[in-house]
Amino acid sequence: MKTRIHSLKGSVLVPVMAALLSACGGGGDSTTSSTSTTSYTLSGTVPGTVIELFCTGGLYYRTNSTDNGTSEHPFSIQVPSGLDCHVVMTTNEDDTATRVISPIRFIEGTTSGDVLNLKGDLALGFVALEMDPSKIIDSNGDGVIDEPFEVTLPDDAEAVADPSYDALDSDGDGIPNVYEDDDNDGYFNSEDDDDDNDGYPDDQDEDHANDQDEDGVEDDYDRDVDNDGYEDDTTTTPDTTTPVTEYTVQKGRLLASQCAQCHGTDGYSTTSWDSIREESGDSSEIIEEMNEYSTAHIMGAQAIGYTDEERQALAEWLSGN
């Protein structure tokens, strides 16, 4: 494996090891491939509106619609694939007295759901949001409608999802945590200095200490702790190169994964031991290497545990065949 490894190190491994070192014992990133995250476009037209997306891992995206002189202002926003996102649209956003905050519920054929998980670009068409606060049902007067606003999607959009555990909407009512009003005092949580009305301001209240933006994702696991729309730490690359949307049986994958304890996830080593990912697509070299070591070497001692067919299957998976 030696020759192959050198070429790999030059191109792929060095930046990874640098990332690992900087991560200092704790995390670190074992995925070497540069993550060209796929994004899809969510678009539509609305009355003058701010569109906010609250997504998996605490990610936050926001855009304003563009005033084009008509009553239907276009907007479009990029959403990384593989994320669950709650969508909230706010009209008259600059005036706290008249703004109308509408969390969106999506209807797709006979099903509905409060989060989108985009599998492609999605055009919503015109979303006829309410602009007049006197016309909405808002029992506590915080400007947030009591029930999500329903938007119907094309039947084949396949964009509605229902996570079984949704940190961003802990009570599953379709109103994201930031727009909940826990103590029913007329101020939703992200604008309420004391969400639970216990007399301790949120920034001193241990109930809130670990969640600055109050979105429900604790700071340690929040990729955008302050909801400024920028991911905080991009050294932890999200694993979205090829977002997996369903499980498929892959011959050789489970066996090949048993090499990762020593050779790194998917065969990309993070130490000076060999990477066994065969970028060239030629599986014969991996098999050759497995056959080569004597059992006095730990590799040889491992290799004798696998049959020829197993070596073939794992080598083919590692070389992408």
């Binding site: 690992l20 991560a23 014992g25 704790g26 995390g27 670190g28 891992g57 669950d84 099903t111 509905s112 759901g113 998980n117 506590n140 915080d142 009591d146 999802a161 229902d162 996570p163 079984s164 555990y165 940190a167 802990s170 599953g172 009512d173 945590n177 727009y179 909940e180 826990d182 029913n184 639970d196 429900g216 340690d220 696991y221 932890t236 999200p238 694993d239 997996v244 949307t245 369903e246 499980y247 049986v249 994958r253 489970l254 066996l255 994964s257 048993q258 304890q261 020593c262 996830t265 080593s269 993070t270 130490t271 031991w273 730990i298 001692a301 491992q302 004798i304 545990g305 696998y306 197993e310």
Partner: protein, 422 residues
């Protein structure tokens, strides 16, 4: 915003201990099919790997929640090197940030206090409940009590972290003429070579690095060195370690540092130490007993899927499961992948892989510069329904400890750590 109640469901869950799958508050429209929820309890080598691979292979088709008490995990692997100053506890510490952020795993830092198999709900100490479609228990080990043993005075240092630092500080305080006594638990226990490795590392440190005249005594509850007997036997005589097999620990005086033991049930003998390191006999983590999935001290499983043989939709991996495979982190990672694949198959109506393989590797430092290794591959034997050593492979080990092995130890552990936590 809730009209019916002053509290958001977040608070309701806390107050009433209701589950997340709680559908009464859901709406009149038929909701999109809820994604299957796998709840994993315990974020050590096995549970962390399982969570990662469920999302890596299952992606957005499955929701994974990892419940772990601590926000930092300290690896027991390499922790004997804290005792001789080659590593620190922080070198061996891992956060769950990458698992959470990169793989979109919900990380909850809390302790599971109960498992309701009928409603498929686990309760957390903080009051919250989680409803699962599949539950995976990976709590590691707990100790079987010994009369008089107080871990704050006589550390086991067999779970890493504060215990490791405590033992280290006691070892630092030993002076010339001192006596270090350790006891080795009866098999099966976590990391078969680990205790012998510890005796060697500590002896080398005190005798050779610090140049002290110190006696090291090993009381072994087993009848002989359980693994790599040649390697450790040789090192024991080189360091002048006195080795007493068949020594069953019956009581400990934690203040006086006296261990009482019996050889083959004969009269009780006492041994006084300056530093006493009692590693008690072991059983599956308490959680396995709480869930009622134990049989004796461990949790019996079907090794094709690690599903409990006494309860459905509950899987047990790592040190807590009851197969004949060794209790070790490398193979815990290995079992986790087989289990992840089997769970994803089962959620998709597919039978588990009928011929999984698992493997184990332990690198054992025996001084500040040398290490040995031990490795094995296990195969599923359908005639026995068990994972057994690959037949005919006649498992080899390193011929002798070496400095090359010592360096390889870090190449190995670096990839094991990143395959588990990154």
């Amino acid at each position: 915003m809730n009209k019916q109640t002053q509290f958001s469901r977040r608070h309701l869950l806390k107050l009433l201990g209701l589950g997340v799958g709680f559908s009464a508050l859901k709406h009149t429209t038929a909701f999109a099919a809820e994604r299957p929820h796998v709840v994993v309890v315990g974020g050590g080598f096995s549970g962390a790997t399982l969570s990662k691979y469920l999302k890596k292979w299952g992606g957005s088709s499955v929701d994974v929640t990892l419940v772990e008490i601590n926000s930092t995990y300290v690896s027991p692997i390499l922790s004997n090197l804290v005792l001789n100053g080659q590593k620190s506890v922080s070198d061996l510490s891992f956060s769950y940030q990458t698992l959470g952020q990169k793989y979109n795993i919900n990380i909850v830092h809390d302790r599971v206090t109960a498992v309701d198999k009928t409603t498929q709900t686990v309760s957390l100490a903080g009051g919250q409940s989680l409803v699962y479609d599949r539950l995976v228990l990976a709590p590691g080990i707990d100790f079987i009590e010994i009369a008089g043993l107080d871990y704050d005075k006589v550390p086991h240092a067999w779970k890493a972290g504060a215990q490791t630092d405590l033992l280290k500080s006691q070892i630092e305080a030993i002076g010339d003429g001192g006596h270090f006594v350790m006891t080795i638990p009866k098999a099966p226990y976590r990391c078969p070579p680990g205790p012998y490795e510890r005796a060697c590392v500590v002896a080398d440190y005190l005798l050779n690095a610090k140049g002290l005249n110190v006696q090291v005594t090993v009381l072994d509850q087993n009848s002989a060195i359980t693994v790599e007997a040649d390697t450790f036997g040789q090192k024991f005589s080189e360091y002048g370690i006195s080795y007493i097999p068949n020594a069953e620990v019956v009581a400990v005086d934690s203040d006086q540092k006296i261990v009482s033991y019996q050889i083959d049930g004969a009269t009780t003998q006492n041994l006084q130490a300056d530093v006493l390191n009692v590693i008690p006999n072991q059983r599956a983590g308490e959680l396995v007993f709480l869930a009622g999935v134990n049989q004796g001290n461990w949790a019996p499983v079907n090794p094709l899927s690690y599903e409990s043989t006494v309860a459905s939709n509950i899987h047990i991996i790592g040190d807590a499961q009851g197969t004949a495979m060794p209790k070790a982190g490398h193979i815990g990672n290995s079992e986790a992948k087989v289990c992840a694949d089997a769970i994803l198959r089962s959620l998709n109506g597919i039978a588990p892989d009928p011929a999984p393989k698992t493997n184990s590797a332990c690198y054992s430092p025996v001084s500040r510069t040398e290490a040995s290794w031990l490795t094995a591959v296990y195969e599923y034997r359908s005639d026995k329904g068990q994972m057994l050593l690959v037949s005919g492979a006649n498992y080899p080990k390193s011929s002798a400890p070496s400095t090359r092995n010592y360096q390889d130890m870090f190449n190995w552990s670096g990839n094991l750590f990143s395959d588990t936590f990154a």
